[in-house]
């Protein structure tokens, strides 16, 4: 009897010991190692397949974070930063160095981390490695109220907190967190915010233009009951200023957001080489495909007409109405830049990836100038011309005649004014000029 009792006591002590010694899972001990995690990942042929993907810089898979990202589950925001608990990653160790996510949230976090690691390397390669601070803050399973398009199936970058937000993905398509193009798209917004928006914050204003991105924070902040800006439907009629002033503001908002969205889509393609990456997650968004060729962008008149129409609804309601316009503007820019990249590849006999990266560098160099040009136009109540960025690209890069003519055609088709390229001096610096001067279309400000 006593012997059995002793055995039981020893057993319970042994169990207690086991409980005490097994506090953290094996996936916690990955610091300083490069591990492989099974994820949906692009293979050499560009197809998404389940693969063991190398991830480095992790401090823990269990606490899920490291050199390139730190995660917050259903976060809040305080003092300009994400707050809340980090999600617990669940990973099955299958060999000494290989792990498999045991649930969707762990797979999502590992995927986002792995892509941010690659995007950090891409930033460094493209000369913008010092623009973002690492690790990046990432909110997952972000809970928002409001309209359904806010609550589910979306992701956005917020410049105020400098964080990425991923709301739950409930659609049938490829989850955003494993869609490399969408992650690169969001990552580009952080570059655009810091290169274009933030330096020109005073001119661009604290409200609708602050974040720049079309699907960025404003509405989410409202949905999260956080104060983003004071405007709402009730203030639409109380705002000072004329419709034409508001229309000019909306014109630039649409252009800024449009270019941001377009370049972000272009970035998704630069990173993946996949022209349909948006459609994988949102099959109905066929208009966002970069496959169709495009030889023009939306011209000034078209954007002005839409901006004037939106301005009649007031500042808050009108701003919501130009959202879809910005996407249309953006897709046109993205298609033009993609087409130019394909031409550039042929002209310089580069690999597809090399060409994408070379053109990405050209665009990044123009971003700062674009911010200044746009701010200058706004400050002077002038109108930024949608084709101005193409002029800058041609002026500041040594393009071949064919490449120059590509842009002169884009400007010609967009403006309705015939442009052509001319060699200047002995050097092969090619500029393009209008062949026929036509009268400028009056800006909304001039029309009053």
């Amino acid at each position: 009897m006593k012997r059995v009792f002793r055995v039981m006591i020893l057993t319970i002590l042994a169990i207690s010991g086991l409980v005490g010694c097994s506090g953290k899972p094996e996936s916690d001990a990955v610091e300083g190692r490069t591990v492989k995690v099974r994820l949906p990942w692009q293979n050499e042929q560009g197809e998404m397949k389940l693969q063991l993907v190398e991830i480095s810089g992790l401090t823990s898979l269990y606490e899920m974070g490291g050199k390139f990202a730190r995660f917050f589950f259903a976060p809040g925001i305080a003092n300009g930063h994400l707050t809340g608990k980090g999600p617990k990653g669940r990973f099955l160790k299958i060999t000494d160095n290989e792990y498999v996510p045991q649930n969707e949230i762990s797979q999502s976090m590992a995927s986002i981390y792995a892509h941010l690691e690659r995007l950090a390397a891409l930033d460094a390669k493209l000369g913008v490695g010092d623009v973002n601070a690492w690790p990046r803050d990432v909110g997952v399973n972000v809970q928002v109220s409001g309209e359904s398009f806010l609550r589910q199936n979306n992701a956005f970058y917020d410049g105020n907190t400098d964080a990425f937000f991923f709301v739950p993905f409930k659609a049938k398509g490829l989850p955003i967190a494993v869609n490399p193009g969408v992650i690169a798209h969001e990552h580009f917004h952080s570059l655009f915010f810091k290169i274009v928006v933030k330096p020109n914050e005073k001119v661009l204003g604290p409200s609708v233009m602050r974040n720049g991105s079309n699907h960025d924070a404003a509405e989410y902040y409202h949905a999260m009951d956080l104060k983003f800006h004071e405007e709402n439907e009730a203030t639409d009629s109380q705002k000072p200023g004329t419709v034409s002033e508001l229309a000019l503001k909306f014109y630039h908002v649409a252009l800024l957001r449009g270019l941001n969205e377009g370049l972000a889509d272009f970035w998704g393609w630069v990173y993946t080489g996949d022209e349909q990456f948006v459609l994988h997650s949102f099959p109905t968004e066929k208009q966002r495909s970069l496959k169709p060729p495009s030889q023009d962008v939306l011209n000034r008149k078209t954007i002005e007409v839409n901006a004037q129409s939106a301005a009649k609804f007031g500042e808050y309601s009108g701003e919501k109405r130009i959202r879809s316009l910005a996407y249309i503007i953006g897709t046109q820019y993205a298609r033009v830049f993609k087409q130019f990249t394909e031409l550039y590849q042929k002209e310089h006999e580069l690999s597809a990836r090399e060409a994408r990266e070379k053109v990405a560098v050209m665009i990044l160099k123009e971003l700062s100038q674009f911010g200044q040009d746009l701010s200058s136009a706004i400050a002077n109540s002038d109108t930024y011309e949608p084709t101005q960025i193409f002029h800058r690209l041609v002026d500041n890069n040594e393009l071949t005649k064919t490449e120059c003519e590509f842009f002169s055609d884009v400007v010609t088709y967009t403006t309705g004014t015939s442009y052509s390229c001319t060699q200047q001096g002995n050097a092969w610096i090619i500029k393009f000029y209008p062949e026929v001067t036509t009268s400028e279309v009056a800006s909304p400000a001039e029309q009053k």
Partner: protein, 206 residues
């Protein structure tokens, strides 16, 4: 794989019971016979069980896994041993990409019925229990047309429980056994570790 866990716990269980007669010293043979007469060996099969296991889910909430649970055991005097097999699975994701995690475990429990109330037809007792076992996890990752199944190693788990038992006798040994217990199970991959849970079991005794 399930059978290997069950085979393991049955093997360990039978081994432990094979050792039990040596507990009583030979010199006290009369007393041993008396004890044997007073405390028959009961076999129990627990076929209807409600297992409650709180484990962290994809939404980071502690949710009840409601595992499948079968068990069998033996009771002699105030001691009992129970072997149990449990499994549950969790699936998350969507039609394009999903992850299914399957957990299975086998545990050998030792129980000490510290307090017993015995009547002619009804017996009540309160017990404490400790358990040791093995668990294994499998993950099936599905992405579009790809599917990969990965299995982890067998790992040790420890467990502790307190509970109560009600036995309704229909004969000298045959009866129904109802027990309820609160339990903690610890394993290196459990989240949280230890898992907290409970069990209500309905079994046959013979």
């Amino acid at each position: 794989m399930k059978f290997s866990i069950i085979a393991f716990v049955l093997f360990v269980s039978s081994f432990s019971f094979a050792q039990s007669p040596t507990v009583v010293p030979e010199k006290n043979e009369t007393r041993t016979k008396l004890l044997k007469a007073e405390s028959p060996l009961y076999t129990r099969l627990y076929l209807l069980n409600i297992d409650v296991r709180y484990d962290r889910d994809n939404d980071q909430q502690l949710s009840n896994r409601s595992p499948f649970h079968i068990a069998m055991g033996f009771k002699k005097s105030v001691y009992a041993a129970v072997v149990e097999y449990t499994n549950f699975s969790e699936e998350s994701g969507n039609a394009s990409s999903s992850v299914k995690r399957t957990h299975q475990e086998g545990v050998l429990w030792g129980r000490w019925h510290a307090v017993e109330f015995k009547g002619a037809r009804h017996q009540f007792s309160f017990y404490g229990a400790g358990g040791l076992g093995l668990y294994q996890e499998e993950v099936t990752t599905t992405f579009l047309t790809d599917e990969v199944k990965d299995s982890g190693d067998f790992k040790m788990l420890g467990a502790a429980a307190i509970g109560g038992e009600w036995t309704i006798l229909f004969g000298r040994k045959f009866g129904l056994v109802v027990n309820g217990e609160l339990r903690l199970l610890a394993g290196s991959d459990f989240e949280p570790n230890p898992n907290f849970g409970g069990l209500v079991g309905l079994g046959l005794q013979f």
